[in-house]
Amino acid sequence: MRRPPHTGAHLQETLDMILTTAAFDQQVSILFADDGVLQLKTGQNPEQRHLKDTAAIFTALELYDVRALYAETESLSARGLAVADLILPVEMIDRCHVNSLMLRHDVIVPD
């Protein structure tokens, strides 16, 4: 995921794909990079602008056994974020290792 949160229905529809994939017993990993790392930032109050509480959907990932969450180290530090600022536990991954992460998967869905 590379897009910032609360930009239309994009995230809800991406999460639907992820949950469907997990529901069909496929292993899913999510890589947060660029502005996508902001998706997981704590302290968002989207309801104030009548936007969807996407944090609630993210926390549902665990129920579907989607636990392989990665955040790119450089993207986090460029935005002044640390793992402690995120709503879910993620594994930090350096940019130079993203390629090998992708190679471990059969299907890549860019977002």
Binding site: A9, H10, E13, D16, M17, T20, F24, Q26, V109
Partner: protein, 129 residues
């Protein structure tokens, strides 16, 4: 080779739809198989029966319908993404008390399971938009 194609962009937001359409034609000409084309997110806007662009512009819904008829390609619009955008099939239109079905010929509405199935059946998945 078997390809699964996903299209996420609307006809007028970018050239992603045109790229997908040209890719599919080229793949077919080269003897490859298109397992399914799954329209998701704003890609739904390719499946509206009554989209009526000016005559000198690309007629996407007509072109997709012709492609489906000629090559028996499975064109699937995600049902939840479609309902969100006001595209209803005949059954759903009746249930919701609407007058008409908006689905262009050659398209069908189905769930994300169809996208996943195509992704698993194909050798390659390509996402446009």
């Amino acid at each position: 080779m078997k390809f699964a194609v996903q299209l996420n962009a609307s006809p007028y937001h970018s050239n992603a739809g045109l790229d997908a359409y040209c890719f599919i034609n080229a793949a077919l000409q080269a003897g490859h198989e298109i397992v399914r084309v799954f329209f998701y997110k704003d890609g739904i806007y390719h499946g509206f029966r009554y989209a009526t662009p000016p005559d000198d512009e690309i007629q996407f819904n007509r072109d997709w319908s012709a492609l489906a008829a000629e090559h028996q390609i499975d064109l699937v619009l995600c049902i939840s993404a479609a309902q969100r955008r006001g595209l209803l099939c005949a059954d759903e239109a009746r249930c919701q008390g609407k007058l008409d079905d908006d689905l262009a010929p050659g398209f069908r509405l189905a769930g994300l399971g169809q996208w996943l199935e195509a992704a698993l059946l194909a050798d390659r998945c390509i996402v446009f938009g």
